[in-house]
Symmetry: C2
């Protein structure tokens, strides 16, 4: 009898499943969530609205009300917004409509593991430029790779997971101008940096920006992300986004979180940033430690001494 | 300047987005949901459990507790269960790990539009066998296509959307024995048929069964589906399922729905089936109408008269 596993693409069979070991620390830090939890006002209002809704009915085909709110929140147009089941879904959808055998995706590692995983499942080739010695983006090497290898898609996480480095608007504009392909900036942690590349969307139709509700927005349990791009590009990516991808509860919670951001969530972001800077200074004062400046809600700390000298 | 849309796969660009016109009827029937809505006991218990949970934390990497409950519910093993963000996500994941350029997917149309949509996005070829004159599966033609074209994947919706026909265990076993590829049975409506092909999983490692919480289980708004397959096949499909794909709220609601199925949901299914049979008989008694027997919660009604004679 034929082995049905022979029908699985060889690249997929060779792939290790993306996994994460459960954390065992006294304080959970390994997923960079908002440590202050969901504000009670967001929780209560979401439960109130969901108490009135008919759960047995499909959610909106396209969550238009949420798209409108996200557009206002991000300073972009609603027809250039696509909400998803976590930004993971939008990473996958963007790669699904662009990547197949013979296509190339440029990333800068170490970074979020999913870019490589999904590209590989889809049969594309991953081109990887390492971060520089200071754990920042090596923009010159990225430019060189873009010109030499003409990647179909370039994905940078900025601020980068797990190093906290950020690409500046000027640097990104250089990449965008030279790139013939699509450039994705995953802004999962942008709230903690106080900056965004979203204003570049206006004059760069090859830019896509991904955002998430899992970090600053304190809704990791509910899985909401969104994409910002030119409407033409957003429309193509939407073709690989599943219908009814966003459940009614998460859609509702995301709307509430955006409405209450300034009153309830921004203060928690400000506390995280203040703590990060305080921690950076304190760590600098500890002999042998060299914290790396971070624009996110986590920080790499290097050891000054080599292993041999410890 | 290069056009970033040139990086979108030509097949995707040529594709019309899957859409659905909003219904405008006095009674909403177009999505085959459970018309009695979510039972109050399911709703209250879900809200109670979610009131105690920390929403800012990621959900389980793999929803193991739900997989255990679904395994017991379906009479299958937990390591052969994969829960998803609606069964749509599992359709997509199964096709992602099997389909690329040069791969073939056999379906029987008319049927659920997503099989064709996703296959096309992934660059595969759709082979379509029409339903027979009585709107049932043309099993001989399907067998012929399987032997002639050797599809990598065959997908049948049973009971079929939108006709309500069902493939029998004996017929399916003939397909499974002859197929070298994977055979998917989408059992979105199985509760209304009173039958399932899940017992065939034990001796057919090329069978995958998809289920959903959007129909009988009355949770369309929350997007939960699951796959049943041999553990080896389930593991490969999982590689294309996004991490944290199922949000905490939907996972909780699905657990509650399974726990309360016999007490709360099964009676609503029995009412739907009784109404379907009553309606069938009544429609038969109306001159000129020819209802088609259905195993689902909807029914095709044909007109006996030709257009010319009306």
């Amino acid at each position: 009898m034929a082995n049905p596993l022979d029908r699985i693409k060889p690249r997929v069979r060779g792939l290790k499943a993306y996994t994460l070991k459960p954390d065992r620390g006294a304080v959970k830090l390994n997923q960079n969530e908002n440590p202050w939890g969901v504000p009670e006002a967001v929780r209560a209002e979401t439960l109130r609205r969901m108490g009135r809704r008919e759960w047995a009915r499909y959610p909106d085909f396209v969550p238009a009300a949420l798209h409108e709110k996200l557009a206002a929140f991000a300073g972009w147009r609603a027809d250039g917004v696509v909400a998803g089941n976590g930004s993971n879904e939008l990473i996958q959808a963007t790669l699904m409509v662009t990547v197949g055998e013979g296509k190339r995706v440029l990333i800068s590692e170490p970074t979020f593991a999913l870019y490589r995983q999904v590209t590989t499942v889809l049969g594309g080739e991953v081109l990887s430029v390492p971060l520089d010695g200071a754990l920042g983006f090596d923009v010159e090497a990225l430019l060189e790779a873009i010109e030499r290898d003409e990647p179909d898609v370039t994905i940078l996480c900025s601020p980068n997971n797990p190093t906290g480095c950020r690409i500046s608007e000027e640097e990104l504009e250089r990449l965008l101008t030279r790139a013939g392909g699509i450039v994705v900036i995953d802004e999962a942690y942008f709230e903690f940096s106080g900056r965004t590349v979203a204003p570049l969307l206006e004059r760069h139709p090859n830019l896509a920006v991904f955002r998430t509700f899992s970090k600053a927005m304190a809704l990791a349990g509910l899985r909401v992300g969104y994409l910002l791009a030119a409407p033409e590009l957003a429309r193509e990516v939407s073709k690989a986004v599943l219908p009814y991808n966003l459940n009614a509860f998460s859609q509702t919670a995301a709307e509430v979180a955006v409405e209450l951001y300034d009153a309830e969530l921004r203060p928690t972001v400000e506390r995280v940033v203040a703590e990060r800077e305080r921690l950076f200074t304190e760590l600098q004062n500890i002999g042998g430690l060299a914290p790396v400046r971070s624009c996110a809600n986590f920080m790499v700390v290097r050891r000054r001494r080599t292993c041999a000298s410890v």
